[in-house]
């Protein structure tokens, strides 16, 4: 007897008891749905976070003066020392100034970062210019404007274009005093939207040259240093060296360290969720086995009839295995469909709440930070693998009941009511 015939007989048996088949299939659906939904969501989160950190530069570290008493002032001497540390490719000092821009009658909080603009794309590899160019080193009255400056909601408003003027009301502390003022810059370039950054939010930042920042702040000491390691492997070495040399005088934050922590947490969550999903699969296994044992018991006489007309043990076994496998397959297909919906639902509920505060070193910029742009990662391999898993679980669960059915003695089976 061909496999196709066994499958046909199994299908006929399934649809003759529709309600039971539907209930058994529903019991299987949960496992595949959880696998696809949760794996898709956690993978999507992982990919999004890694992409975001890659844009910020996985080799990039942020060094700034400790807020506690005894912090080290960051001047050119310190910058040179840091640049001389083994493993450091680049050390770029910067000024950070808080400010606002006016949008009609409203204001938008922004940050002004003053640094050597020629090094900007080395520090933040994800920076792309939508319009214009990065100001030259000597262009002290020019600025590169983040994609969200003047358009914090990310809508269609384009407030700043090349050669337009951006005026910022800023405030800075000099010698214990807060100095306020207004400064205007000619827009040399506008950035593509960057998305949420790490410690800074490039979309709501105006980048200017170091000297321009110095004239704004009237400071000889910097707010911090962007440090780029030669390789990802050198990051820890550099952090240790800085901490050894400067103790608590300087604080170092590396995006890769945070990324590793997030990866670790994500993997832990993923493991727990996947375990939950596999528990659901185990429950499905038991459900299918129970249903198949019931089916064998109810169809004992039918098995006797089939044997009496010449069906061999392997035919009987094949029919029941086909039935349990079909049940698993159908549950798997429905489950992955539901899992795709679940994945998007989970991302939709939790992804929007995963905006990380930026625009300042631990201090909020005043506007709501943009949420992580997450999409679930649902690969064909995940879908096919999950369906095959469900099919396999169905087949496995059917082995014992099918074997029992095949072992029935025809005359005994025929006597069954």
């Amino acid at each position: 007897m061909k496999v196709q015939m066994m499958v046909t007989l199994a299908w006929q048996a399934l649809i003759s008891r529709k309600l039971r088949a539907v209930l058994t299939i529903l019991g299987i659906v949960v496992g595949p749905a959880l696998i696809v939904g949760l794996v898709g969501a956690t993978e999507g989160f992982k990919v999004s976070v890694e992409e975001r950190f890659s844009n910020m530069g996985l080799n990039t570290m942020f060094v700034f003066r400790s807020f506690r008493g005894g912090g080290t002032n960051i001047d050119f001497r310190v910058v040179d020392q840091v640049e001389g540390i083994r493993g450091v490719a680049l050390a770029v000092p910067f000024y950070r100034i808080s400010g606002t821009v006016r949008i009609g009658s409203d204001t938008q909080s922004i940050t002004v970062i003053a640094l050597d603009l020629s090094k900007l794309q080395t520090i933040f590899p994800g920076v792309r210019i939508r319009e214009g160019e990065i100001p030259g080193v000597s262009a002290l009255n020019h600025a590169l404007v983040g994609g969200g400056v003047g358009d914090p909601e990310g809508g269609q408003t384009v407030l700043y274009t090349v050669n337009s003027v951006v005026s910022t009301d800023f405030n800075t502390r000099v010698g214990g005093e807060t100095i306020r003022g207004t400064r205007s810059f000619v827009v040399s370039g506008v950035m593509e939207p960057f998305g949420q950054g790490f410690f800074i939010n490039p979309d709501e930042t105006i980048f200017i040259n170091t000297l321009a920042g110095q004239s704004l702040t009237r400071q000889q000491t910097f707010s911090g240093i962007f440090v780029v390691a030669r390789s990802a492997e050198d990051v820890d070495l550099v952090i240790n060296s800085i901490q050894e040399r400067y103790g608590r005088g300087l604080r170092v934050f590396a995006s890769s360290t945070f990324l590793n922590s997030i990866r670790s947490v994500n993997e832990g969550i993923s493991t727990i969720l996947t375990s939950v999903a596999f528990m659901a699969v185990l429950v499905a296994f038991i459900g299918i086995m129970t249903t198949m044992f019931t089916s064998v018991a109810e169809r004992t006489r039918e098995i006797g009839i089939l044997k009496s007309v010449g069906f061999r043990k392997r035919h009987i076994m094949g029919i029941f295995l086909a039935e349990s496998s079909l049940t698993g397959l159908l549950g798997g297909i429905v489950g992955v469909g539901l899992g795709i919906v679940l994945s998007y639902t989970v991302i939709g509920i939790f992804g929007g709440n995963l905006g990380v505060g930026g625009g300042g070193f631990g201090r909020r910029s005043g506007t709501a930070p943009p949420a992580l742009d997450i999409a679930p990662v649902i690969t064909p391999e995940l879908l096919i693998g999950t369906v095959l898993l469900a099919l396999g679980i169905g087949a496995l669960a059917g082995i014992l009941p099918a074997w029992r059915a095949s072992k029935l003695i025809p005359v005994e089976a025929l006597k069954h009511e």
């Binding site: 007897m1 015939m5 007989l9 006929q12 048996a13 003759s16 006489r301 039918e302 006797g304 009839i305 089939l306 044997k307 009496s308 007309v309 010449g310 069906f311 061999r312 043990k313 035919h315 003695i409 025809p410 005359v411 005994e412 025929l414």
Partner: protein
């Protein structure tokens, strides 16, 4: 196709107790004979029939059908025997209720080589031969007892067996229907040379047989030969 029984015994064990259904039956049914097995209830005649049809195995002794020793055959060999050489007609018809008449008749052909078209053609022919062409799409619950038995007969005939075994095939039928079923079976015996073995309580049926085996208390009491083959 001859049937040879040599000291056939069958003992059942249930809950630690052994029950001897057959104590040693030695007999022979010649090829093309119409034989009846008679006896009171509990005599072991149905047990003997089940052993002849390879629905069960004897505890001791041998059953040799057309040269094949059923007691030494494997489960697969017995399954093939039930498919190719022997067919059963049961008192309770033993049709599968969720299948149509046609689908019930096709069942034995599913384990043979052949195309779907051939199977349907052969099954339709078998149903026609029992006068049920107009009922092929009916499920058993929409057929009378006589019609169900005729579907069972069609299923028995579709594989062109050499032996037909009937365990009280007319037991659940009214007189008229019982007569028509027996007429059909006798016709097959006469025209196609099928060996026919029927378990029956009916003296009317028995008197038409070539040979009657009387079974009592698990033993063969006597053999009444009516006609020489």
């Amino acid at each position: 196709m001859s049937v040879v029984m040599e000291d056939v015994q069958k003992t059942y064990s249930t809950g630690g107790y052994a029950t001897a259904a057959l104590l040693g039956i030695t007999a022979r049914i010649e090829s093309g004979e119409f034989a009846c097995i008679m006896g009171p209830s509990g005599s072991g005649k149905s047990t003997l029939m089940n052993l002849l049809g390879a629905l069960d195995r004897p505890t001791r002794g041998r059953i040799i059908v057309d040269g094949q020793d059923l007691s030494k055959s494997s489960d697969d060999q017995l399954a093939d025997f039930r498919n190719r050489k022997v067919s059963f007609i049961f008192q309770s018809y033993n049709l599968i209720n969720r299948l149509t008449a046609l689908e019930n008749v096709i069942l034995p052909l599913l384990v043979k080589e052949g195309s779907k078209t051939d199977r349907i053609r052969a099954s339709m022919k078998a149903l026609e031969s029992v006068g049920l062409r107009h009922r092929v799409r009916h499920t058993p619950d929409r057929l009378s007892g006589g019609e169900q038995q005729r579907v069972a007969m069609a299923r028995a005939l579709v594989t062109k067996p050499k032996i037909i075994l009937g365990d009280e095939p007319t037991g659940n039928l009214d007189t008229k229907t019982a007569e028509s079923v027996m007429d059909l079976l006798k016709q097959l015996n006469r025209d196609r040379g099928l060996t026919l073995v029927i378990v029956t309580h009916s003296a009317d049926i028995a008197k038409q047989a070539d040979k009657i085996l009387y079974v009592r208390d698990g033993l063969l009491e006597k053999v009444d030969v009516r006609k020489k083959n």
